[in-house]
């Protein structure tokens, strides 16, 4: 069963399109990573899924219903981000209790254990927490709510590295014990790739790729060698990215769909063929120009 189904989804703010013609499905009980550069439309997409924003065109179904202003979707979805706002009139402990009364699957035991583990003061107020502590608290709410659809928009922003690791571990353990559909947005794929089953890569509001993490890891290869040879070899291909890496040396990233003969040719030209990490593939695919940042600084 697909939990989220989007068809030609478009969201417009005035004239600019934040989301353009996106079509994808997210299957039940999978951890999907939503990856994209800053301003690619990750947050907008997640807010549409969570029912906070209207879509402008196309169709979106969450649990087979339109999520906007929908109580069923609201009760079964939790949207965690660092803008989450909690009442200033309630202490952290009271907030957890209130959350417990709202979410039918809420596990208060887990919430309290995590709360103690991260050494929160139960009598503190949400507004007085530091940025990382806020993210941690929101994450506790997100995990303990056990919503069938859990959406986390850059949940680790502001957390220190130890807390991040704890968070990913807690997320994984919770997921294994109580499988649910999780959408995790991040621009640090490196950090989350062990966690993800699928990756939805978006680039300036459009879907770029939707693959399983294993497919993504094998999506592209890199070749390194003399610029002339690299150019010669990639002549008939469409490289995803070409970079100069020093004197007369180049590094090109291409789709991993070459024949054995072609790879043999590469070796004969003295090119070194290497795998490309998922993180790098994503940043090459989503970079706006083929040359990357070096282009900005290159003269002539």
């Amino acid at each position: 069963m697909n939990v989220v189904v989007c068809h030609e989804l478009t969201k417009q703010y005035g004239r600019s399109k934040a989301i353009q013609n996106m079509t994808f499905q997210i299957a039940e009980n999978k951890i999907t990573g939503l990856i994209g550069r800053n301003g690619a439309g990750k947050t907008t997409l997640l807010k549409i899924i969570a029912g906070y924003l209207h879509h402008s065109a196309g169709d979106i179904q969450v649990f087979s219903e339109n999520p906007f202003n929908n109580l069923k979707v609201a009760a079964n979805t939790i949207f965690i981000d660092n803008e989450m706002s909690f009442s200033q009139g309630l202490t952290l402990k009271e907030l957890l209790e209130t959350a417990g009364s709202f979410y039918p699957n809420w596990n208060h035991d887990l919430a309290m254990k995590l709360f103690d583990y991260f050494s929160f003061n139960p009598n503190q107020y949400h507004g007085n927490l530091s940025k990382g502590m806020k993210s941690t608290f929101n994450m506790i709410v997100g995990l303990a709510a056990r919503c069938p659809l859990t959406i986390m928009d850059e949940p680790t922003s502001g957390m220190d590295s130890a807390t991040r690791k704890d968070f990913y571990r807690a997320l994984l353990k919770e997921y294994i014990a109580y499988p649910r559909t999780i959408i995790l947005s991040s621009h640090l794929l490196d950090e989350v790739e062990d966690l993800l089953e699928e990756v939805l890569l978006i680039k300036s509001g459009e879907k770029c790729l939707h693959l399983s993490i294993d497919q993504l890891k094998e999506y592209a290869i890199g070749v390194r060698g003399k610029t002339v040879n690299v150019e010669k070899w990639t002549e008939k291909m469409e490289p995803i990215s070409v970079q100069e890496i020093g004197a007369n040396m180049s590094y090109a990233v291409i789709r991993n769909d070459r024949s054995i003969k072609e790879l043999e040719d590469a070796r004969q030209l003295g090119l070194e063929v290497t795998p490309v990490s998922a993180e790098d593939i994503c940043s090459y695919l989503t970079s706006k120009t083929k040359g990357g940042i070096d282009h900005v600084f290159s003269r002539g």
Binding site: N69, A75, A99, R180
Partner: protein, 247 residues
């Protein structure tokens, strides 16, 4: 994981309970404002003097008018405050939709109005007693009310306060819909006052007040307020149903 089915009314109740707890500051401000109002009422809300032959007398009225007016303004402002972004977003951190959010806000405003209406009555007595002790009055005449009059008085206070809360809520929602209303609404309000002033015979504002104030039948008065309040609140509901949260 199975999908939870929730009943709208259950969520309204939960949101309402949550609001009673988390908007507690509203009640603190109510008490402060009432104390201020008592202070302002201390010199009497009306006074007069007269003399005949060898007698000269001054008289003062001690009524709850000022307290009630302060409470009406308080309700208006409170209603605006709970439509602001921070308060709206709070609802959406937990389960809700727009209609539930508005309905639970209305229930909250209604409870706050009832609370305010009762305290208006109580604080009137407080300040009458204070006036009795601290002012050197020679004689005090107290209107003794029958139970019906007392109940009617209290219901009227509550309804007036709720009317202002409903108006405030619509104003707040309109401002949330478009910041332009921040300019338009005061312009209309003060424009009306100025027009009244220029024309010499005040029409606009007076007509509005008279619509409620001149009603002699209690039942009709209740109907008028209920109808106008519902109109204001339903409009708010209609508008907020289309609003996006957390842009």
């Amino acid at each position: 994981m199975y999908l939870a089915e929730v009943k709208a009314w259950d969520i309204v109740k939960k949101q309402y309970r949550y609001k009673l707890k988390s908007y507690f500051g509203v009640f603190t401000s109510l008490i402060v404002i009432q104390m201020l109002a008592i202070l302002f009422s201390f010199n009497g809300t009306g006074s007069g003097s007269g003399s005949s032959n060898s007698i000269q007398y001054d008289f003062y009225y001690y009524t709850s008018d000022i307290i009630l007016i302060f409470m009406m303004i308080w309700a208006f402002i409170t209603a605006i405050i709970i439509t602001t972004r921070a308060y709206r977003y709070d609802d959406f951190s937990f389960v809700t939709n727009r209609a539930i959010s508005v309905v639970s806000n209305i229930l909250f405003l209604l409870s706050a109005s009832i609370f305010a209406g009762i305290t208006v009555y109580l604080s009137t007595h407080l300040f009458q007693i204070l006036a009795f002790y601290f002012k050197d009055n020679y004689s005090i005449i107290v209107d003794s009310l029958t139970v019906t009059e007392f109940v009617m008085g209290m219901i009227t206070s509550i309804l007036y306060i709720f009317l202002f809360a409903s108006a405030g809520y619509l104003v707040g929602i309109l401002i949330q819909l478009h910041k332009g209303f921040l300019l338009i609404i005061p312009t209309i309000l003060f424009g009306g006052l100025i027009l009244d002033g220029i024309g010499g015979d005040s029409r606009v504002i007076v007509n509005v007040t008279m619509f409620f104030g001149e009603e002699t039948s209690f039942i009709l008065f209740i109907c008028k307020i209920v109808i106008v309040s519902s109109f204001l609140l339903l409009t708010s509901l209609g508008i907020s149903n289309r609003m996006e949260v957390r842009k």
